[in-house]
Symmetry: C2
């Protein structure tokens, strides 16, 4: 596969409203997108610098007590902080097949709709030296 | 302060040579810079996608047993994985003063030379909702 660029960095937070306020007022970033992903049980917000496309994606679980939700579980066990690295690819199905044939453990064998209508798929951190990796193919 | 863009994501690895090979061959990223930071006791490598400036910075401690080294300690206690988020700013001294006056806990009160000859300073994760934040002012 070919990584086109770093799409975003996922950061788990306790309270997305407070976090958006912190990132915008304290760090001077701009909010570019906000969405509740009901099927994933999370609220997300994307922020970028004044230049550059790579974003920070803030993630807060909708139900903090749902330990079947990976983000809620992450927050409860590790606390808030860096969660995943997302890279942009041109053809996500081709990239997934290539990674799988190279022996990497896929979390999603088939791409699914993620935030911003993009197609996404996660690769298990065991196969990426401890990094939860997300592939993103932008919505046309 | 104003975040211009996401400069890089720091990722701690067990073996930087193996990691570079993985990121270039498996994820299709390109190696843009490599350096040993002897004063920090770490080896670093910067990789980007085929487009876009935001990099992944791989970090490996030179001495894995030196528990005074924060990267070696991170690796020993948490294992390899996402380590810090670095944002580019235009004026690092001004940004640090502003963050300090807003009550954030600075790791570096004064900017110091980091990788690639850039000026850098770290902000404590306690003050950034669990994220170790690095400010980077590019070398002129």
């Amino acid at each position: 596969m070919e990584t086109q660029n770093i799409d975003h960095i996922g950061v788990v937070v306790e309270n997305i409203d407070k976090a958006i306020k912190f990132y915008t007022t304290m760090l001077g970033m701009k909010l570019v997108h906000r969405e509740d992903l009901l099927d994933r049980g999370i609220k997300v917000a994307f922020l970028t610098g004044t230049h550059g496309e790579t974003a920070v994606e803030l993630l807060e679980p909708i139900n903090h007590e749902d330990m079947n939700n990976t983000v809620a579980k992450f927050l409860k066990t590790k606390g808030p902080g860096l969660h995943h690295l997302a890279v942009k690819v041109e053809n996500i199905e081709k990239s997934l097949k290539e990674l799988e044939s190279n022996g990497l453990q896929l979390v999603d064998k088939v791409p699914r709709p993620g935030a911003r209508g993009h197609l996404v798929a996660f690769i298990h951190p065991k196969s990426v030296m401890g990094v939860l990796l997300e592939l993103v193919q932008p919505h046309e």
